[in-house]
């Protein structure tokens, strides 16, 4: 049997065993949504890292650096610094005031029906964009790394759903994540993320070690080699900035377009993380604010070390393998077809394995890195599915429809059942959407970026103002949640890069829309608040501020961690 396939199956088997074990610990709502608030700080830190370091960061960043040199590193920097926003402003207050979802915190002060509905809308928008990118990535990865799987399954996928033929690889990933989430809820998701984080760190450390070993642990030699790699278009070498962001070429309003694009990306990265629903949700799984703080510390240590290692992977692939040799199919040592940056890390693993351990080593290391990438995607999509299901079932169905509109009491049993059903529906929907969008490959990288912008333009102002601005009210919250989401999607849709091939003169010049839509999100929150104030729409919000203020700062009255019977 194919070695890669075997390692894939081992990963799958381990995660399924965990789900079966976790299923018995996912009977009540607090168990299903928040793992009974029993996750320790360091465990949660690992899980945050596992939730966060997606295939985009492992394969994507390594590939960006391998193809563009230094500029690819910019993503890594932003993704770590982002956690300072989370640590200073978000982690503890969320744990202290929230229950299962972001909307729990907002509806503390605001009218539950509009705010929960609006939060469910923005949450689903973020999760859907992020998830599609991951699923498309997973699909193409499996096709490349174990082509036999896809071709063998193809005959069984010979039917269409609403005009779209499902993709075997994507469907497999989708079904697996549905099993984790439906059976094991947050407990299973957390452990899948922890295992993935350990595997990913292990893989990165191993590759970094081998790259350095190749250069005899002489960093100077390594950098000499990197500087020897030149970009043809710009003439710059790979240690220099300016290859990906071509400064000084185009201008908008008299300012360098590449510079604005880069800063706009940075804004979305460092502000968006603090609004990502699947990351926020992780803070409800720990016993108290102090553990929430500790989990950020662990996550920052892991994420930071990992992203520093991405430079060794990316530069290593650039110097040892070379852009021309990074592609899906290699015949007799030469590439067939176009280079594919996502395969920089796997191809580097293959090269290093071959150098140090011979042919079997090459095969094994390639298979191992492929399995790590696969586990990475599974863990991230599981976290996203859980967050999206939380928005649908906990916020919208239980919070809005059953409790507020029908004035009913919802039993634990019903809540958990609805949670499982929505997780299933979210999973099915994303399988279908990913298969439908999958054809336009250009969209994959873009939609992942959109998730960060929506999170920072819609969710972040809502959370920050709820916690820290006394006058903030329901109108303001709904304005930024809905407005921020809609404006972001609209700007992306009329910008460059959405359609394939890219339009020559798009209506909006930037690919990264954060620099415009994030201020708009905050502005909408403020305007909405003043309008709501004028019509005196919301009397409770200001009164309740005192409560959330004290709770957020002190942890008084925070959701307890129930003692397991």
């Amino acid at each position: 049997m194919n070695l890669t396939l075997a390692l894939f199956l081992i990963v799958v088997a381990i995660t399924l065993v965990i789900s079966a074990w976790a299923a018995r610990r996912a009977r009540t709502t607090v168990q299903f949504w928040a793992a009974g608030r029993q996750i320790k700080g360091w465990q949660n830190g690992l899980a945050i890292a596992g939730d966060y370091m997606s295939a985009a960061s492992f394969l994507g960043i390594a590939g960006l650096i391998a193809f563009n040199g230094y500029d690819g590193f910019m993503y890594s920097v932003g993704w770590l610094v982002a956690y300072l926003t989370v640590l200073f402003l978000i982690a503890e207050p969320m744990r202290n005031t929230g229950k299962y979802t972001m909307a729990d915190v907002l509806s503390f002060r605001m009218s539950p029906v509009p705010v929960r509905s609006a939060a469910a809308f923005s949450t689903v928008a973020v999760c859907a964009s992020y998830m599609m990118a991951q699923m498309i990535g997973a699909g193409s990865l499996i096709k490349i790394l174990i082509p036999t799987l896809d071709t063998n399954l193809k005959p069984y996928f010979n039917w269409e759903i609403f005009g779209t033929r499902l993709d075997p690889s994507i469907t497999m990933v989708g079904l697996l994540m549905m099993i984790y989430v439906i059976a094991g809820g947050m407990v299973a998701t957390t452990w899948v993320q922890i295992i993935k984080a350990v595997l990913l760190m292990g893989g990165a450390v191993l590759l970094t070690f081998l790259v350095l070993l190749h250069f005899g642990f002489n960093v100077g030699h390594f950098f000499d080699a990197i500087a020897g790699v030149k970009d043809k278009a710009t003439g710059l070498n790979f240690t220099q900035p300016g290859i990906l962001y071509k400064y000084g070429q185009k201008q908008v309003f008299g300012v360098d377009l590449a510079l604005i694009d880069n800063i706009s990306l940075g804004m979305a990265l460092i502000l968006g993380t603090a609004g990502l629903p699947h990351i926020l949700m992780r803070f409800f799984t720990v016993p108290d604010g102090k553990a929430a703080r500790a989990s950020v510390a662990w996550a920052m240590g892991l994420i930071g070390s990992f992203y520093i290692m991405t430079t060794f992977l990316g530069f290593g692939a650039a110097t040892l393998v070379g852009k021309a040799n990074i592609c899906a199919t290699v015949v007799n040592g030469a590439c067939v077809g176009k280079p594919n940056s996502n395969l920089a890390a796997p191809r580097l693993a293959e090269f290093l394995g071959g150098e140090f351990f011979g042919t079997t080593g090459a095969e094994f290391l390639l298979a191992f890195i492929a399995a790590v990438a696969f586990a990475t995607i599974l863990a991230v999509v599981a976290g996203l599915t859980l967050a999206a299901a939380g928005a649908f079932s906990h916020d919208f169905y239980v919070g809005v429809i059953r409790t507020e509109l029908l004035h009913g009491k919802v039993s634990e049993r019903e809540q958990v059942m609805v949670a499982r059903i929505t997780a299933g529906l979210v999973g099915l929907l994303s399988i279908w959407l990913a298969a439908r969008i999958g054809a336009t490959a250009n969209a994959a990288a873009l939609v992942a970026g959109v998730a960060f912008v929506i999170a920072s333009a819609a969710n972040l102002p809502a959370i920050l103002f709820t916690l820290f601005w006394k006058r903030f009210n329901t109108w303001g919250a709904v304005a930024c949640l809905v407005g921020g989401t809609v404006v972001t999607i609209w700007l992306v849709a009329i910008g460059p890069g959405w359609t394939v091939p890219a339009v020559e003169h798009p209506a909006f010049p930037l690919q990264n829309v954060g620099i415009v839509s994030i201020p708009i999100g905050f502005l909408l929150a403020i305007i909405g608040t003043y309008l709501g104030d004028r019509v005196k729409a919301d009397r409770l919000a200001e009164v309740k501020f005192h409560e959330i203020d004290v709770r957020a700062q002190t942890g008084l009255g925070a959701e307890p961690n129930p003692v397991v019977a």
């Binding site: 500029d71 300072l84 590449a258 004290v550």
Partner: protein, 119 residues
Amino acid sequence: MEVAQPEPAAGEDGVHWEGLEQTDEFRELVRRRFRFVLPATIFFLVYYFLLPLGNGLAPDFMKTRVVGQVNIAYLFALSEFVMAWVLAFLYIRKANGLFDSLAAKVRARAAGGKEGTAL
């Protein structure tokens, strides 16, 4: 201390939130936290955006080699990681010590049930 309190509308849970918000302990907690978080946030935002600004506006300076082929651009990017870790360490040290003990005082006061009448 004289605090002009309108009717202390204690919540359904019996906790008088607005009264607690006015206590010296709580104000001290908020002030101390603010005094750390605000400058730290401004600092990391400025420091972070200096990197893309430098790369875009002063590319020749950023390309200056420091040791061998290692240039300022790469060292600056690495220093961002160190900056983030150091700030996080400082915050957590302060929070585990000072902020937590102040928060515990506020919680103790609430548990004593004095916050409504004592004011």
